[in-house]
């Protein structure tokens, strides 16, 4: 797909809505919207080079000038004052990203961006990556204690935007006549209470983050001959997100995505009470979890999923069978803490299809999910690498989700959900008093159509 270029030219773009008085962006201490404009020109945007660069500082609830002091680095201080999710780092500060052209035609509206990354990044990166380049790109470490140290002071990142438009790293033509017609990238920041969490109410509550020195860098590709070749259509990818809540043990999610070319879909979960809470990490991708319903009881009791069906217009598709994990569910009424399903086996078939939905399996050379992250009985309690589920105060560090890929061969094939609703039947051991938020993402293809005068229509 990527077109040849004759040479490259670097660019660095500042936010167009940056105030002359302050270059800071923040949900609390500044503007929560960051807008970049990439001009219309006879150039390619080399999307694999596109990076958003910034510095990020966290401030405790004690007010400006007070950095967190996580990890008991001074004796007497609690270990978790203000933290970011350790699997997505600074991306947790972004609520959604809109990609449009300069004529305000929206190409992609990527909602719940942090939860998208909470699946995508661990699905393709192991501890070695989290120890290495992910600290540079996202400030993510996959370890709660390292994240705590990093959150204590200024973080500096050069972050790719992992929206569908830029996912394949293609060269995007920018002219009106033969391209997108420039690009406007609007980044809406998350509320501080959603992005941050901790266990020290006096310091965690009212804590906030600030982004500084923001710029968008990348490269333009100059086309052969200096003019973009005429095109009739331009394909692009995008993510579409849907939010719902499940609570019952036999739940069918029905979504009408109205998308004509879906590549894959997946869903990740978190207890609804963990969203927008300074006390909980709202970006975890936990398994389904129960609570006892008692006042103040944590929602941390496993509610294994024992049947999954993917349907299109009421028929099983693309899997013609149910992912049946009933034999793996083990109930022990005498289990400590009321965690009666804790001894259940690991539903590897679900995880396999989920991993396949994130990226083609042949390209999945690394992932974070393993015995320690999923809290299996064979976990070795290793605290020296990625955080281990239920060791210390880590809680659920799972890389859990449900999904499947329609492009099973990884050759670009898609499924049509334009006039056919998508459904997912989920049978589980949820007890009806434990709401779980479900974030469903569709990766789909869209097309920009042109005539001799430029863009005629954009279809998804």
């Amino acid at each position: 797909m990527s077109q040849p270029v004759s040479s490259l030219r670097r660019f660095e773009i500042a936010p167009m809505n940056q105030s002359s008085g302050s270059s800071s962006f923040s949900y609390r201490e500044g503007s929560p919207l960051i807008q970049f404009e990439i001009g219309e020109a006879d150039l390619y945007l080399m999307s694999h080079t596109l990076r958003m660069n910034f510095e990020l500082e966290l401030t405790t609830g004690a007010g400006p000038g007070n950095f967190p002091n996580n990890n008991v680095q001074d004796p007497g201080n609690p270990d978790a004052q203000v933290l970011l999710n350790n699997k997505i780092g600074v991306a947790g500060c972004i609520e959604n990203i809109t990609i449009s052209n300069l004529q305000n035609n929206t190409l992609e509206y990527c909602r719940a961006y942090p939860r998208l990354l909470a699946s995508l990044i661990p699905g393709g990166a192991g501890f070695g990556d989290y120890q290495g380049y992910l600290t540079q790109t996202f400030g993510a470490t996959s370890n709660r204690q390292v994240e705590g140290r990093m959150c204590n002071r200024k973080m500096e990142v050069s972050m790719p935007l992992m929206v569908g438009m830029f996912l394949n790293g293609e060269n995007i033509p920018l002219s009106f006549r033969s391209g997108t017609g420039g690009l406007r990238i609007s980044i809406m920041l998350s509320p501080s209470i959603q992005a941050l969490f901790g266990s020290t109410p006096a310091l965690t509550n009212n804590s906030f983050y600030t982004l500084k020195k923001i710029s968008l860098t990348g490269q333009y590709g100059i086309p052969m001959g200096g003019v973009l070749p005429p095109i009739k259509s331009l394909g692009f990818s995008a993510y579409q997100n849907f939010y719902s809540v499940i609570n019952t043990n036999d739940n069918t999610q029905q979504i009408s995505p109205s998308l004509s070319a879906v590549v894959s879909q997946f869903t990740n979960f978190v207890p609804t009470t963990h969203i927008s809470s300074y006390a909980e990490d709202g970006y975890k991708t936990t398994p389904l979890l129960n609570t006892t319903g008692a006042l103040g009881a944590a929602q941390d009791l496993l509610a294994p999923c024992d049947g999954i069906n993917f349907l299109r217009a009421g028929s099983s598709f693309p899997l013609r069978f149910k992912i049946d994990s009933r034999l793996l569910v083990v109930r022990d009424p005498a289990a400590p803490g009321g965690d009666v399903f804790a001894g259940s086996g690991f539903d590897a078939q679900r995880q396999l299809y989920y991993q396949g939905a994130l990226r083609p399996l042949r390209r999945t050379t690394m992932c974070l999910a393993g015995a320690n992250s999923e809290g299996l009985s064979i976990a070795n309690g290793d605290v020296n690498h990625n955080s281990t589920t239920d060791i210390g105060n880590n809680g659920q560090q799972n890389c859990y989700g449900i999904g499947c890929r329609y492009d099973a061969m990884g050759n670009g094939s898609t499924a049509n959900f334009k006039a056919q609703p998508f459904s997912m039947r989920l049978q589980s051991r949820l007890n009806g008093i434990s709401p779980m938020s479900a974030y469903t993402y569709f990766l789909h293809r869209g097309v920009i159509n042109y005539d001799g005068n430029g863009i005629v229509s954009i279809s998804t």
Partner: protein
């Protein structure tokens, strides 16, 4: 360490092979003895000189990219100094190599200078998991990190190590094979969880029968080998590969390790000793040659020979090396900006990328454990500034960047584009960001925020009072792999003109560091430019452009 993931070279595509002919291919491995070998003997203080080894390649078959140099280093003084000396921890056996050159008769085809430095840089682009699982065996290299979880107060500053990084050495069986926790040196074993060491199989020893022999893939050294196949059997002249060894100075081939007198006690510093010898008997070149058998009396090599007679044009790259220096700071309380501008020449060349390393300049007469550029890495590495670093490249009188790159994260992003894969080293190894005390104008580090513990030791290296940044446990790793690079290619394919054409004006590298109270050493400024060359094989002769 070829990160560009280019397709394997295949000269036979010039003639095309039928499936039957492809099945007639066979690979033969030859073990070559050196044509010449020299190595100066060491002296007590200055060590030995460099020395050189050369190999003549056989004049038959096609040269495959799988060519390996076998090397072994011994230290005859082992019995008297204990196991208190060994290969630099990351660069391993590569620390012995200064320059690699390939000649065709007297024509220089490719030369790579400051090999050890360049290969440690390239190693940073290999996945940590691959390094952890293979590099200790290939080249004696250890560089993987784990999360330290030691909540004991140590380091003399009343701090824990929770959330810091340490070498991935564990007594629990989940660290790097070849590293262990708790025992230092053969002559003074002591159990201590604050110490990491190599297991005996990976240590430098006194005799050739005990020391490990490492095997270095030459495709790491010569990009050449991954780009073209030389038809050795069709050349009228001789292909010769020559390696110049690094001088036997403190921090090059070996660094001084320490031993621990008792559990819970900081290691005792040892001085480096010379006479770290490269074993001639085990210095060999292992070469894979490709042959084709006759099919119905016809051999594809005959068709290739006809093609070679009329001329084959091949594109490859070579590294041009430039060295300059960055002066030391005064070490005063206020940071000082240190501007360096280097003219690299390169006029009328096509440059694919520029790589930069800035290791500390060292005094080779110092034999103390803290003498090398970095106590743990030895003389390889690249020492980051504690303040803002900026980089600008000027080509054909125009700035490559609209604004100079002005943050460590952007610098990481730029060098990552050279190899088309992210640099696989964490923020802690490339930067001081997040570890600087915001309350101090001096930009001094904040002990509890440093990314590596001051009270943990790798092979007992860097022993100190636990208060200074350098010479204090693993804290000397912070910002120690801050390499810089600029991609100048429009594609990562090996095609003619992929890079940027340089005109008459020289390429200029402008680097600004902040010299601070804690990090103010003079640096070497090492610059490699990967430039395009064209090789024409015609009538059994090789002609190359630009060299």
């Amino acid at each position: 360490m070829s990160m560009n993931r280019r397709a394997r070279p295949n000269i036979m595509k010039h003639i095309g092979l039928s499936s039957g002919e492809s099945q007639s291919m066979r690979v033969e491995t030859r073990v070559l003895e050196p044509r010449t070998f020299s190595q100066s003997s060491g002296t007590a203080v200055f060590g030995g000189g460099g020395g050189q080894v050369s190999f003549d390649l056989p004049r038959e078959g096609l040269l495959d990219q799988d060519v390996f140099l076998d090397l072994q280093v011994t230290q005859p003084a082992f019995a008297t100094t204990g196991a208190a000396q060994g290969l630099p921890i990351m660069v391993g056996i590569l620390g012995c190599l200064q320059t690699g050159t390939i000649y065709y008769n007297n024509i220089l085809l490719q030369q790579t200078t400051e090999l050890a430095q360049l290969l440690q840089l390239k190693m940073c682009f290999v996945e940590q998991d691959i390094r952890n699982q293979t590099y200790q065996v290939k080249i004696g290299s250890f560089s993987g990190m784990m999360v330290d979880h030691d909540s004991l107060v140590g380091g003399g500053v009343g701090l824990t190590s929770v959330g810091k990084y340490s070498f991935d050495a564990s007594s629990r069986g989940n660290g790097i094979v070849g590293l262990q926790q708790g025992i230092i040196t053969a002559i003074a074993p002591a159990s201590n969880p604050d110490h990491y060491d190599k297991v005996p199989d990976y240590r430098m020893t006194q005799t050739t029968s005990e020391a490990p022999v490492y095997s270095i893939p030459l495709k790491w050294i010569f990009p050449f080998l991954t780009q073209i196949q030389l038809p050795l059997g069709l050349l009228e002249g001789q292909i010769r590969i020559v390696f110049d060894f690094e001088a036997d100075f403190n921090g090059n081939r070996a660094i001084a390790y320490s031993f621990v007198p008792a559990a819970g006690v900081a290691p005792v510093a040892q001085n480096w000793v010379s006479d770290n010898k490269i074993t001639q008997a085990n210095c060999k070149l292992v070469v894979d040659l490709i042959y084709f058998d006759d099919i119905d009396g016809v051999n594809p090599m005959e068709r290739l020979a006809q093609e070679v007679m009329t001329g084959i044009e091949l594109v490859y790259t070579d590294y041009t090396f430039i060295e300059s220096q960055i002066p030391a700071g005064t070490g005063g309380a206020n940071p000082e900006a240190s501007d360096t501008s280097v003219l690299c020449g390169l006029d009328h060349q096509v440059v694919r990328n520029i790589l930069v390393a800035i290791p500390n300049r060292v005094d080779h007469t110092v034999v103390a454990q803290t003498g090398p550029s970095n106590p743990i890495w030895g003389n390889c590495g690249s020492c980051s500034s504690q303040g803002q670093t900026t980089l600008q490249i000027v080509i054909n009188n125009s700035n490559v960047y609209p604004n100079a790159i002005n943050s460590d994260a952007k610098l990481f992003n730029e060098i990552s584009q050279v190899f088309n894969t992210p640099q696989k080293t964490g923020k802690a190894l490339t930067s001081w960001v997040g570890s600087i005390n915001p309350a101090l104008a001096s930009l001094n580090s904040e002990a509890q925020q440093e990314a590596f513990p001051r009270d943990k030791y790798m092979c007992g290296l860097g022993p100190g009072a636990g208060l200074a940044v350098f010479g204090s446990g693993e804290s000397c790793l912070q910002g120690s792999l801050a390499y810089y690079g600029v991609n100048l290619s429009r594609t990562h394919q090996n095609v003619l003109g992929a890079g940027t054409s340089i005109g008459k004006s020289p390429v200029e590298v402008r680097l600004t560091l902040q010299q601070t109270q804690q990090v103010s050493e003079a640096r070497r400024l090492l610059i490699w430019a990967e430039v395009e060359r064209v090789m024409v094989i015609k009538g059994g002769q090789i002609i190359v452009s630009g060299s």
